[in-house]
């Protein structure tokens, strides 16, 4: 299978010099797919609502953690917080509007159950929320702070980076704010535009001392959130807001943890490694299916889960096996976390790589035209590919597969460990 794929790719390479990629030539399936690539046209149509660009793929029902219940993402967060508040008497939850349940209903019922001294609202002051949370954590409470949208985390950036991250180090381990966990809704949601769609994980990974975790679904979210809360380091937990209602699966009712800094290989493959986190994992799973079906390319899909510190070993092992890597995220490409993964992998696995590492991320270049596009997407759906949701999804996926081919076709294939 691998040999066949390489043959195919070699064929594609010979017929498609990179420069003529857009024009398309007849012949290989790759070229045909490239011809089908959506080209933005300025057709004017009445606005249409975009369907989600992915289908949520639920995890298999877990059996090792006891009884499970059907929950969506926000319910699994509520369940995790419920477990924490009942087992840890020092746990407190605070943030804007958490008392009535939160704007995404993640804290529904907790105030009634545990009291207003444990689940309370803060005024509108992110810097104050995080600073206050650091103080509470240092003094021994398990502080779970909510920032209403990840886009609003920037007033608190100084507190996180300069205070929370460095507390243990600068006090020589005398003090620490390991009890602090910050939760924030994260990522594109379709109508969010500039200030309700950002994915700021890259800003925080640049700072040693904090952990950044992003789940792909309810079952993962509960386990990872409980791990973050239990972890002795300040953690930022980003929750993909588009999945709050869309992602439904069976989640254990009792408390359980999923280890941090461990990536998960969702499906094994031999030709290319695809790495993503959060919502994008589901997109890549569909891409992997499409690549298998249309190109016979076998993809290994990895969910990174913990962004910082990330599981370098799992990703590198996979790249050694496949020889090709594609990282995808919603945040803009420049300075996005894919750049860090890319850099590390090429350092560790240079001789195993058969093609340059590809990053498929929200476009950027300059001042986040991705946000511009999100604004436009929410109001100008006519600018973007075909109307019906399945066609639109198909077009997006073709884009990914095109990138796969492109990254694969850049270099002539060389013998890798798996072919010997």
């Amino acid at each position: 299978m691998a040999a066949a794929a390489r043959f195919f790719i070699r064929g594609a390479n010979s017929r498609l010099p990179v420069s003529s990629v857009g024009t398309g030539t007849s012949g290989s399936v790759g070229a045909a797919l490239l011809q089908l690539s959506p080209r933005c046209s300025s057709r004017l149509k009445t606005q249409r609502r975009h369907a989600a660009h992915f289908t949520y793929q639920p995890d298999p029902v877990p059996t090792q953690y006891g009884e499970t219940q059907k929950m969506n993402l926000f319910q699994s967060i509520t369940s995790a917080l419920d477990n924490v508040l009942s087992s840890d008497p020092t746990a407190v939850i605070f943030g804007e509007d958490v008392a009535f349940g939160g704007v995404f209903r993640c804290t529904v019922g907790l105030r009634d159950k545990y009291g207003k001294d444990r689940v309370f609202n803060t005024p509108l002051c992110e810097q104050g929320i995080v600073g206050f949370g650091i103080g509470a954590a240092v003094a021994g409470a398990t502080a779970i702070a909510e920032i209403q949208f990840a886009d609003y985390i920037f007033p608190a950036f100084d507190q996180i980076v300069n205070e929370a991250a460095k507390y243990r180090y600068r006090s020589g381990n005398l003090f620490d704010c390991g009890n602090l966990t910050i939760r924030a809704p994260w990522g594109c949601v379709g109508h969010g535009s500039l200030y309700h769609s950002q994915s700021p994980e890259a800003f925080f990974v640049h700072c040693p001392g904090i952990k950044v975790v992003i789940p792909r679904g309810p079952m993962q979210a509960k386990g990872l959130l409980l791990s973050c809360i239990a972890d002795r380091n300040p953690c930022i937990f980003f929750e993909p807001k588009i999945l709050y209602r869309a992602a439904v699966e069976q989640v254990p009712v009792e408390s359980y943890t999923i280890p941090l800094s461990e990536a998960e290989v969702l499906q094994e493959g031999s030709d290319v490694t695809l790495v993503a986190w959060g919502t994008q994992v589901h997109v890549l799973r569909e891409v992997a299916d499409m690549a298998q079906e249309k190109l016979g390319v076998s993809c290994e899909v990895i969910d990174l889960r913990t962004i910082q510190p990330w599981d370098i070993e799992t990703v590198c092992k996979s790249v050694v096996k496949t020889g090709r890597l594609l990282v995808s995220h919603e945040a803009p490409v420049t300075g996005g976390f894919a750049a860090e993964i890319s850099s590390t992998v090429q350092e560790e696995c240079f001789l195993n790589l058969e093609a340059p590492i590809s990053r498929v991320c929200e476009d950027d270049q300059l001042l986040k035209p991705s946000q511009l596009l999100l604004v436009l997407k929410s109001t100008h759906s006519s600018l973007f590919p075909p109307p019906s949701s399945s066609q639109w999804r198909a077009a997006r996926k073709r884009h990914f597969v095109d990138r796969l081919i492109r990254s694969a076709s850049r270099w002539p294939p060389c013998p890798s460990a798996s072919s010997i």
């Binding site: 005024p123 509108l124 270049q365 300059l366 035209p369 929410s378």
Partner: protein, 390 residues
């Protein structure tokens, strides 16, 4: 006799249109101006207060009425269009608070500067935007005031700096604009607005300090509509006397539902600033009928009775209308004609906003940086290179 003629003419007017009415009753019938008693403002660190007896002319009254009615209708139309999914994204409506925008504008000049938060449609209108441009911006079309790229929260026009999404972020910006005014010595000032929720942000206090230290000509205005999203002021603020929060900045608390009160207080504040005394803080006590945004029904944190009560007792447009009518400064028919005119204008604007084409694809990546020559930007499809021109 005169009455008969006027009746006939009025009947004609109702069939034909607006213009005839003005001639139905002669100017002698209307009072050209009247003096009104307005509520006294609470003051903080001030020896004087704004006047409590104010004069309003008939022209002014009709202008305020026209402007407030336009704003009210525009917001209600936006509500309608949003529910029809013609407007997408976020939409924060200003109905109920019209007296604030109109009163402030009445006391400053168009050469002065103004900056506000996301509930900005009203201010865009008073600062010089047309209803057409505003509605087209809401629907994201090329005729929009920000070329369709800004949306509800990002509307701008000359001397109006928006339209800002992040809560409280516009306040330091306002102080900066005021610094530019002082530096350039042009006797202009900056009106810097924020809400009761934003009043608890740290950057506001930083701005108070800088403005006071450097005696910047800035009027800080807190539009206290009693709810920061869903949180009432009592639950969010240790001190709900927002006009005293400046501590070393003099303050005024003003009835924000009365356009004359707001105008008088703003006049007072503007004089204060222009005389070089530094910043001043105003709290406008007002109310919004809609929820925080279109996704907020607005009734989960307050009762319908409360909204109804404010609507019936303190609606700014009704207050002004009563004043005009009871002082014989306008007639019911005249105001009705204005209503009809306004409705038509809004309908036309909505029609334009719905049918205007969306911005061209070439515009997609423009104005990211200021660049010369044009720069290439990668599109969502990596083989679609888009040009960015500035």
């Amino acid at each position: 006799m005169l009455t008969n003629i006027s009746n006939v003419l009025r009947a004609c007017a109702q069939r034909n249109g607006a213009a005839a009415v003005m001639s139905a009753r002669s100017y002698a019938d209307f009072t050209t101006q009247a003096t009104f008693e307005i509520k006294k403002c609470d003051v903080f660190k001030l020896d004087e207060a704004p006047a409590t007896e104010v004069v309003m002319t008939r022209e002014e009254g009709l202008k305020y009425y026209h402007t407030m009615q336009t704003m009210r209708r525009m917001e209600l139309k936006a509500d309608q269009l949003y529910k029809q999914k013609i407007i997408r994204g976020f939409c924060h409506l200003y109905d109920g608070q019209e007296a604030c925008a109109v009163g402030i504008e009445a006391a400053i000049n168009l050469t002065d500067h103004l900056i506000t938060a996301y509930r900005a449609h009203g201010y865009t209108y008073t600062r010089g935007g047309t209803v057409k441009e505003i509605m087209a911006e809401l629907t994201g079309r090329r005729g929009g005031i920000a070329k369709g790229k800004g949306g509800s929260m990002h509307m701008y026009c000359k001397n109006f700096y928006g339209g800002n999404g992040i809560v409280g972020a516009q306040v330091p910006l306002g102080a900066g604009v005021a610094l530019a005014c002082k530096y350039q010595g042009n006797n202009e000032l900056c009106v810097c607005l924020y809400g009761d929720g934003a009043a608890n942000q740290g950057q506001i206090f930083e701005t108070y300090n800088m403005a006071s230290l450097w005696k910047l000509p800035v009027i800080f205005i807190c539009e206290n509509n009693r709810y920061g999203m869903g949180t009432s002021v009592e639950r969010a603020a240790a001190s709900t006397d927002y006009f005293k929060r400046g501590e070393f900045i003099p303050g005024l608390r003003v009835d924000g539902m009365d356009v004359l009160c707001v105008r008088e207080a703003t006049r007072f504040a503007a004089d204060h600033c222009r005389s070089g005394k530094g910043p001043i803080l105003m709290e406008l006590q007002t109310y919004r009928y809609h929820g925080h945004s279109m996704s907020d029904p607005g009734v989960s944190y307050r009762t319908r009775e409360e909204i109804q009560e404010v609507r019936s007792k303190s609606d700014p447009i009704s207050l002004l209308k009563d004043r005009l009518l009871s002082n014989n400064m306008a007639s019911v028919e005249e105001l009705k004609v204005i209503d009809v005119e306004v409705r038509k204008e809004i309908e036309d604007a909505a029609q334009f906003a719905t049918t205007d084409p969306e911005p061209p694809l070439d515009d997609l990546c423009n104005h990211i940086f200021s660049n010369n020559p044009p720069v290439e930007v990668r599109g969502t499809n990596p083989w679609a290179k888009l040009k960015s021109v500035s």
